[in-house]
Assembly symmetry: C2
Homo-oligomer: 386 residues x 2
């Protein structure tokens, strides 16, 4: 059964409606990340107000705390978070990559050493599905193997083949018909492996497809190359989800290639580091020039933060380490991203997407790539310390 109606196509870009048990999602759509059942510093009302349609949560983290059985006993993840809109859970596969020092991979499972108390936890493909069934998200992901961008072709091929076998096992293990299981395409930075993976995963006739194993240290141009060569092998009548991607410039480029769904910690992570999105690029609200900036961060922004506070106040909150800073900055950055998605959707409907894309790039300056990589590396390191 098809879960997405593609209503408009403009070039390769698509605008559609994705149906889930907890309501519809207008695509292209961005999913804020609530790893531990909370999008950091925000409450469900904030999420609704910025225009969130679907939230991502993490199976592995919730398995550890508070436990998937606990969440099931409490009425499932939607009740637990008080978020009665769609939720997608990631399987724990990404933690096999980000927590490399705390896991062992066998043919059968990822075996994690808890970063909380050192205990061992065996994630087989079947267990990852069972845990996600207890959580009760609308869209669930199979356990996959994600490798770093500098892995050899043999390593990538092995991981890909194991991911395919695990996908078969995941499909077999899945019982709850209300949940939607996506397939994940792997294949690292190798175009022939990506093609092979996309072909295989597509052959399974799943309701939706994800592209995994990107945003793992490769350059932007490499990431774009892999996405653009993978998409044509995916069926037109199913949603396409690019995992872990979410800077404004990447969203525009990847919507242009035909991606429908995204998630990324970036907007909320950089917000907590005082980086705010503006039409011209990121601004650092902690810099001295904002001390007396008696206007909103972004004049034409309709978010709660910009409608109620000056850049000077935000500057002050960051400089004095006030907790409110994190929330106000996160609200703005997510609203910026949601407006971007909505504008892209409108321009696809109006067949003006290419113009929108060019206008966006002529105005928006992404940060230097090395800075971007360093920041991401720092974040990955911080995950390991947790």
């Amino acid at each position: 059964m098809e879960i997405i109606n593609i209503e408009h196509v403009d070039g390769s870009a698509r605008a559609g409606t994705l149906r889930t048990s907890h309501g519809n999602i207008l695509t292209p759509a961005f999913m804020p990340v609530g790893t531990q059942a909370s999008v950091k510093s925000l409450d469900p009302r904030d999420l609704k107000e910025v225009g969130t349609q679907i939230v991502l949560a993490n199976n592995y983290h919730l398995y550890l705390r508070p436990g998937v059985q606990t969440i099931e006993d409490l009425g499932g993840l939607h009740n637990f978070m008080n978020w009665h809109e769609p939720i997608l859970t990631d399987s724990g596969g990404f933690q096999g990559y980000s927590l490399q020092h705390l896991r062992k991979i066998t043919k059968d499972a990822i075996i994690f050493k808890s970063h909380i108390d050192g205990s061992n936890h065996v994630f087989t493909p079947e267990a990852a599905i069972k845990y996600q069934e207890k959580l009760g998200a609308d869209i669930i992901m199979p356990l996959d193997l994600c490798v770093s961008s500098d892995s050899s072709q043999t390593e990538v091929q092995d991981a890909m083949q194991q991911t395919h076998k695990w996908l078969d096992r995941s499909i077999h293990a899945k019982k709850d018909s209300r949940q939607i299981l996506f397939g994940i395409v792997q294949g690292g930075m190798f175009s022939d492996l990506r093609k092979q993976s996309a072909d295989y995963v597509s052959s399974l006739n799943l309701p939706g497809y994800a592209i995994g194993g990107l945003s793992v240290g490769e350059s932007k141009s490499k990431m774009y190359e892999i996405v653009s060569l993978t998409v044509p092998y995916l069926p037109d009548n199913a949603p396409r989800y690019l995992m872990g991607v979410g800077s404004p410039e990447d969203l525009v480029e990847c919507v242009n290639m035909g991606i429908d769904l995204f998630d990324c910690v970036l907007p909320t992570r950089i917000a907590r580091n005082s980086a705010l999105f503006a039409p011209e690029g990121r601004i650092n609200i902690s810099t001295a020039k904002f001390k007396t900036w008696n206007r909103p961060v972004q004049e034409d922004c309709d978010c709660y933060t910009c409608e109620n506070f000056t850049a000077a106040y935000l500057h002050h909150l960051f400089r004095t380490k006030e907790l409110l800073a994190f929330r106000l900055a996160s609200i703005h950055n997510l609203r910026f991203i949601m407006n971007l998605m909505q504008n892209m959707r409108e321009s696809i409907k109006n067949h003006t997407f290419e113009r929108y894309r060019q206008e966006f790039h002529s105005r928006f300056n992404p940060p230097n790539e090395q800075i971007r990589k360093d920041q991401k590396q720092k974040w990955l390191q911080s995950l390991k310390r947790k």
Copy 2:
């Protein structure tokens, strides 16, 4: 001119309306503390929703960051915080007590060494008024000298006399007629000095009176003793503000003695340490029993937190160190206090205050006094490290 209408009296307890340039305050009233122009983790909408009528901010902290001139240039403190209801600023006198290792006191001033960069800052009574005029709060406080509860009678007497002189100078310095200047009664733990101070300050015919120098390490019974002996020396037709007091049991006792206005960091400070108010006393939401508690923290509470989340979810947020924990807990604790104030007000109007008070005490178990003192000491220490 009288700024308060006392509309109901029940025993010594009073219910009234206090008028300021930014609106009326129904008393007895509690002021959440936003030291640095932000009640920690909360936004103005949260403050309104919990029932806040007036917020307290701190002259010394705002003088340091972002600077009182900056705030004036940005349109004053109300605009800066986007809080268009009443504000009271404390003078910086309390920081002369809490930052003892960073200040020198002369006949003329408190000289602070900034905890941020070590620079020196001279707070004369005149400067403290001038700075507060730039901030533009509705109610402002004179610079006073606050001594610890174990000071000798001579030390306390000297500080009191200096506070009186500084009050004269403050009255003389004050220019902005829209602002209300309160007098502060000092005199430490000595009843004759308290009487002397209350008599002197009352003789100045000010629009309002504060009792300072309490909640500085003394026992609860000592604090109650000093409040009860001071109040009769204050005029009936002016508001009485007890500075720095705000546990539920203290609020009930001090309203019973005739206090109209309170401020305290306690509800928001303990919230950030996972202590939540309930009708039976404080609960620690981090304890294991709440892990599966599928009901609100307080069944009959009408706050955003209790209406939307279970105790189990709050427990999870604290255990996983999610930022949302601080805000949800602060919202609940402030709503608890605001409901308490409103209930006291109603019972005063209905002449049932004494019954309300007894019912409150029969249900609410305050924490052990030693625990309370230790926690406060820890907080004071944390201020010094900042």
